[in-house]
C-alpha cells in the first residue's frame, strides 16, 4: 500500500529566501505525525505546498500514490486532505452551523445532520446559530477543527491545534485526534507545545531553515543534537 502522503524533494522559495529546501518525508496511514522546528523553519509553507495554497517550485507530493502537486486547493481537498490554519480561519459572518454545512454538497438535510452531530461532539450545538465571528477563540478553534471533519478526510493536517487553547479543551481535542487515528486516519500536526507533540505523536519530523534535520520517535528526537542546536543555538 502506498504511503498516505509522500513528499519528495520539495522546494519553495520566496524571492531570495528558501522557505522549504529539499524536504522529503513519507507518512504511513493510520498514524499521528508531528512536524516541529523553530519559527520560520518552513512548517506552514510545507502545509501550504501540500494543500495547494502555495505553488511549489520543485519536488513532488503524492497522496495515496497519486500525485497532487500542482493541483488546485479545492481539488486536493476533495481528494480527502483536510487542514486547519495557524491563524483561525472560520467564516466570521456565517453561523457555526453554516460554517460546517457550506463544506459539503448533496442533500441539505444530510449536511445539516452531520454538522449538528459534529457540533454536538465538541459541545457547541447550543451556539450553532451564532455568527462564528462572535465566538470565543477556543470555540472558533473547535469549529475550525470539526469543519475539517465534514468531508471525512483521510489525511488531516493540523496547524498548531494547541495554540491558545486551555488544558481541558486541549485534552478533548487530543482525545479526538487519537480517536480519528484509531479509525484509520492519518494526522500530521505542526506544534510548538512539546508536551503535546511528545504525548501524541508516534513519529516526529524536525525542520530547520527549510530542511529536514531529524526524523524519528519523540524520545529520540528530544535528545538529538542537531535538534537541540536548531532550537537553542550552539
Amino acid at each position: 500500500m502506498p504511503p498516505a502522503l509522500e513528499i519528495e524533494n520539495l522546494r519553495k522559495h520566496f524571492g531570495g529566501v528558501s522557505a522549504v529546501d529539499g524536504v522529503s518525508l513519507a507518512l504511513e496511514s493510520g498514524r499521528i505525525y508531528g512536524l516541529i522546528g523553530p519559527n520560520g523553519s518552513g512548517k506552514t509553507t510545507l502545509f501550504n505546498c501540500i494543500t495547494g495554497v502555495e505553488r511549489r517550485d520543485a519536488g513532488r507530493v503524492a497522496f495515496n500514490g497519486e500525485r497532487i502537486d500542482g493541483l488546485k486547493p479545492w481539488v486536493i481537498a476533495q481528494k480527502g486532505i483536510g487542514r486547519t490554519f495557524q491563524v483561525i480561519r472560520v467564516f466570521p459572518e456565517l453561523s457555526a452551523l453554516e460554517n460546517l454545512m457550506v463544506v459539503t454538497r448533496g442533500s441539505r438535510a444530510a449536511a445539516r445532520a452531520r454538522a449538528l452531530e459534529l457540533l454536538t461532539f465538541v459541545r457547541l450545538e447550543g451556539l450553532r446559530d451564532e455568527y462564528a465571528g462572535n465566538l470565543s477563540y477556543g470555540q472558533q478553534k473547535l469549529v475550525e477543527f470539526v469543519r475539517v471533519l465534514m468531508r471525512d478526510p483521510s489525511l488531516i493536517l493540523l496547524d498548531e491545534p494547541a495554540a491558545g487553547v486551555n488544558r481541558t479543551l486541549l485534552n478533548d481535542l487530543l482525545d479526538a485526534v487519537r480517536r480519528l487515528r484509531d479509525r484509520g486516519k492519518t494526522i500530521l500536526l505542526v506544534e510548538h507545545d512539546m508536551k503535546v507533540v511528545m504525548g501524541l505523536c508516534e513519529t516526529v519530523f524536525v525542520l530547520d531553515h527549510g530542511e529536514k534535520i531529524a526524523e524519528g520517535p519523540p524520545g529520540v528526537i528530544q535528545t538529538d543534537e542537531r535538534v537541540i542546536e536548531a532550537y537553542f543555538g550552539r
Partner: protein, 308 residues
C-alpha cells in the same frame, strides 16, 4: 426558514399596486417607475457578484451597454421583436461575462477591480471602431414604437425575478459558498469549494439582468449611442444604491434603488454637477460610517435573518 405571511401579503399588495399603476398613472409616473425597476435590476445584479463574493465589479455597466447594443442591433438591423431582442441582450451580456470573467476572476481582489475598471472604456472604444454595425459615435436609431407600458411590465417582472433569484441564492448553500469567497477565499478553497467556478456562475448571473435591462432601455429610448449606455455614472449609481441599502442582503439593493432614485429625481436633477459630486461624497460616507448599508446595519443590530 420561509418568510412570514405578513411579509408575503405586503409584497403581493405592492406587486398588485404596481401592476395596475399604468392604468391611472401619468406618463411621467410610469416612466419613472420603469426607471426604478431598471435600477433595481442593475443594483440587485451587482449585488450578486460584488455583495456576495466581495469581488467588486467596477465596470458592470459594460453589461448594460452590451445588452443595449445587442438588442438594438437585432431590432434595427434584423427586425427582431423587442421581447426576443431583450432576451438576446441578456444572453449577449452573459457571453461577455464569460469572456471577461473566465480570465479575470482568477485575479485576486484588487487586480480584478483594475481589470474591470478598464472594461468600460474598452467596450466604448470597440463600439466606436465597429461603426458599420453599431453606428459608431453617431449612435443607432430604432424604428419608432411606443411600447413604454409593455416594457414597464417586462422591466418590472425582471426586477421581481432578480430579487427572487437573490432570495433563492442567499438561502441556498450555493449562496453560502459564494459568501465564503468573500469571507475567506483561501479557507474556502481549503475546504474543497471550487471558488473559480462559483465566482464565474455568480458573475454570469449578475450580467444577465443588466443585459436585459439594457436592451429594454434601448427599445424604450428608441436611440442609443456609446456615451448613453456606457456611462461611468451608471456604475457609480449602481454601487451607491447597493452600498447604501445594504450589500449582501436581498432587499438592500431594492431599498437603495428606490430611495436614491426618488431623492435624485426630487432634489438633484436640478443641479447636474452637484449630483455626481454628492454621490462621491455618499460613497465615502457609506464606506467609512455605514459600510454595511442600512439593512446590513439593522441586520446586525437586531439579529435579523439574512433574507432581509
Amino acid at each position: 426558514m420561509s418568510p412570514r405571511p405578513a411579509a408575503l401579503a405586503a409584497l403581493a399588495a405592492v406587486t398588485l399596486a404596481l401592476a395596475v399603476y399604468p392604468e391611472f398613472g401619468t406618463g411621467y409616473g410610469v416612466r419613472s417607475t420603469l426607471q426604478v425597476f431598471m435600477w433595481i435590476v442593475l443594483a440587485s445584479s451587482w449585488n450578486l457578484i460584488s455583495g456576495l463574493t466581495g469581488y467588486v465589479s467596477f465596470g458592470h455597466v459594460a453589461f448594460f451597454g452590451a445588452g443595449a447594443y445587442t438588442g438594438a442591433i437585432l431590432i434595427a438591423k434584423a427586425g427582431w421583436p423587442w421581447g426576443l431582442a431583450a432576451l438576446a441582450g441578456g444572453l449577449g451580456a452573459c457571453v461577455l461575462a464569460l469572456a471577461i470573467g473566465y480570465p479575470c476572476l482568477r485575479l485576486k481582489g484588487p487586480y480584478f477591480a483594475i481589470a474591470m475598471l478598464g472594461l468600460n472604456e474598452v467596450l466604448r472604444a470597440l463600439v466606436s471602431y465597429f461603426e458599420d454595425l453599431t453606428g459608431g459615435g453617431n449612435g443607432l436609431s430604432l424604428p419608432t414604437l411606443d411600447a413604454t407600458v409593455p416594457i414597464y411590465y417586462v422591466m418590472g417582472a425582471s426586477a421581481l425575478l432578480v430579487t427572487l433569484v437573490t432570495y433563492v441564492i442567499i438561502t441556498s448553500r450555493f449562496g453560502l459558498r459564494l459568501m465564503t469567497i468573500r469571507e475567506d477565499e483561501v479557507a474556502a478553497e481549503a475546504m474543497g469549494i471550487d471558488t473559480a467556478r462559483h465566482k464565474l456562475y455568480a458573475f454570469l448571473l449578475s450580467a444577465a439582468g443588466p443585459g436585459v435591462a439594457g436592451a429594454l432601455t434601448a427599445r424604450d429610448q428608441g436611440y442609443i449611442e456609446p456615451i448613453s449606455v456606457f456611462p461611468l455614472a451608471t456604475t457609480i449609481t449602481m454601487i451607491v444604491m447597493v452600498l447604501f441599502g445594504g450589500k449582501g442582503t436581498v432587499w438592500g439593493p431594492v431599498l437603495g434603488a428606490v430611495v436614491l432614485f426618488v431623492a435624485q429625481e426630487i432634489v438633484w436633477a436640478r443641479y447636474p454637477y452637484v449630483h455626481p459630486l454628492l454621490f462621491g461624497v455618499i460613497i465615502i460616507a457609506v464606506v467609512l460610517l455605514m459600510p454595511r448599508g442600512v439593512l446590513g446595519l439593522l441586520q446586525i443590530r437586531y439579529r435579523l435573518p439574512r433574507t432581509i
